[in-house]
């Protein structure tokens, strides 16, 4: 019974929205807003063919590579910068500057430097995704509790063991918050990196449809993006609940007491 209930919560609003949409398109057909039925048919035609292989999967692959690299590099560099005081003082203003540069403006520059390649697109994604992970990790490393740190020191927990058992778990709530932002930025940049001078990929395909006034096809592409976003969010939440079990539990106890 409970899973039925949670399923109802999950699909309730989407169903309602589709219903409203359907009702709105009922009387007067609009060129720019196709009815749900038409869109459904288009969706199947457009995306369940060779486009999965030629556009969707390569895009997803680049997204995954970019996000994974951003998370990896962001955490590693964040641990280092957060632990070394002078390094942090030296780098922090510069990092804030780079974080403030909107990544899309880098696309033409990177295109010139690297050509229109897969790696260029991955680098675009990394260049935008890395900042929230990096800066949050630095913040998290700095916020390690003093007493806990003293405890670890007195028991000789130092070096890599300190990172593994103290710093990393202690910073994990901030790191996860950074990763959450990183994922949504990643999806945006995946699309943007394919919009300029590209010849395949989800972003390219959607722009292509738009330019040729294939409106239902364009919408179906947008829906694909939305679904990818939802899937990523679910995977993230599932992971977060496991990684931060202790954190949420502790917060709950603190709030209750």
């Amino acid at each position: 019974m409970t899973w039925l209930k949670s399923l109802a919560y999950l699909v309730g609003l989407p169903l309602l929205l589709i219903l409203i949409w359907w009702a709105a398109t009922l009387g007067r057909p609009n060129f720019f807003f196709p009815a749900p039925g038409i869109l459904m048919d288009t969706f199947g035609e457009v995306w369940f063919g060779e486009r999965i292989l030629s556009d969707v999967l390569p895009s997803l692959g680049r997204l995954l590579a970019g996000v994974a690299a951003a998370i990896g590099i962001g955490i590693a560099a964040g641990l280092l910068i957060g632990s070394v005081k002078w390094l942090r003082a030296l780098l922090e203003p510069t990092l804030e500057f780079f974080r403030a540069v909107p990544p899309p403006v880098l696309v033409p520059v990177l295109m010139l430097l690297m050509g229109i390649t897969d790696s260029m697109k991955v680098v675009v994604i990394i260049s935008g995704c890395i900042w929230p992970v990096l800066l949050n990790t630095i913040e998290g490393v700095r916020a390690v509790d003093g007493v806990l740190s003293d405890s670890a020191r007195t028991y000789g927990v130092a070096g890599w063991a300190r990172v593994r058992y103290l710093v990393l778990p202690s910073a994990s709530p901030q790191i996860m918050a950074g990763i959450r932002q990183c994922l949504s930025i990643g999806l945006i940049l995946m699309v943007i990196s394919e919009m300029f001078a590209s010849s395949s990929g989800l972003g390219f395909t959607i722009v292509q449809f738009q330019r040729s006034f294939a409106i239902p096809e364009m919408w179906s592409g947008i829906i694909v993006l939305g679904l990818i976003g939802v899937a990523m969010s679910f995977i993230f939440q599932w992971t977060e609940r496991r990684v931060l079990r202790w954190y949420h539990g502790q917060k709950e106890v603190e709030n209750a007491g």
Binding site: D145, G146, V147, L148, D150, S151, R153, T154, Y155, G156, V157, A161, Y165, L166, P169, S170, S172, W246, Y247, G249, Q250, V253, E254
Partner: protein, 277 residues
């Protein structure tokens, strides 16, 4: 004579605090937490340290454990100057809630220091089981620290220190947050562990009864600026129990004496030796 002379140190002291001074540099100016402290602990001694709040007890422990460098003076462990956390020393902190790893279960918390020093799994398991059993927490090895009460958390911290088998055990008001019954049990636990392992213990408390019941010796600190107000031997029988020991006339005498000294300390009375400094 009620007050014994400071014992003559024949063998080398385990722990030696020499002219220790600590001044905190803060934005609001310098804070002198400890003026000048000198005392020795013999191997296997159980000493209690009492002193008014703010007299620098925590500061002293941090200097002894190598977490903080003293402004002047030095700490010697087995004759070697302490410059960082020594391997064979364990500390139980005052802030029990913040000294355990909230992302590890009770067992992992107790096990971590041993694992970190490469103690083999079988031996580790044995030590952890024994320590948890000793503090009466054998039934919650899989709980997280934050799922336990304050007193239970502090017992985990004690178990972690005991399992580590240190040569020197420093404890900073470890029982401040536990109820009277648990406290009595834990006091007996500390004495049992001490007798069994013959570990050198420095136990900070603000509870006079506790210091007399627990210690073989009580070091009384003056109020700030801090010096040693008095250093007395507790000549109670080695086997102590909560009911009988506390009912001894000698217990009452010693307790009375410590109490008086602390009152003097609070009023700012300085021991003759320190007045000149």
């Amino acid at each position: 004579m009620l007050v014994n002379e400071k014992p003559a140190v024949k063998d080398q002291p385990m722990l030696s605090v020499r002219d220790l001074k600590k001044v905190y540099k803060t934005d609001g100016g310098d804070v002198e937490a400890v003026r000048n402290l000198t005392f020795d602990l013999r191997p296997g001694e159980l000493a209690c340290l009492v002193g008014p709040s703010g007299s620098g007890k925590t500061t002293l422990l941090k200097c002894i454990s190598g977490l903080m460098a003293p402004t002047e003076g030095e700490v010697l462990l087995n004759g070697t100057r302490v410059v960082g956390p020594p391997k064979k020393m364990a500390v139980v902190f005052q802030e029990y809630g913040r000294s355990l790893f909230p992302w590890m279960r009770v067992r992992q918390n107790v096990e971590l220091p041993l694992k970190n020093h490469g103690v083999p799994k079988a031996e580790r398991d044995h030590l952890v089981d024994e320590a948890l059993e000793a503090v009466g927490l054998a039934h919650v090895p899989h709980s997280y620290p934050w799922q336990l009460s304050g007193g239970m958390q502090q017992r985990v911290a004690i178990a972690r220190a005991v399992a580590y088998q240190p040569e020197v055990l420093l404890m900073d008001e470890p029982f401040a947050a536990v109820d009277a019954q648990t406290r009595a049990d834990l006091e007996d636990l500390i004495r049992t562990v001490w007798k069994k392992l013959r570990v050198t213990v420095l136990f900070v408390t603000h509870d006079i009864d506790e210091s007399v019941y627990l210690g073989e010796r009580v070091i009384i600190l003056s109020s700030s600026p801090t010096v040693v107000q008095e250093d007395i031997i507790i000549d109670l029988p080695e086997d102590r129990d909560q009911l009988n020991t506390r009912a001894l006339p000698r217990f009452t005498e010693l307790r009375h004496h410590v109490y008086e000294q602390i009152q003097l300390a609070k009023k700012g009375h300085r021991p003759a030796a320190a007045v000149v400094s």
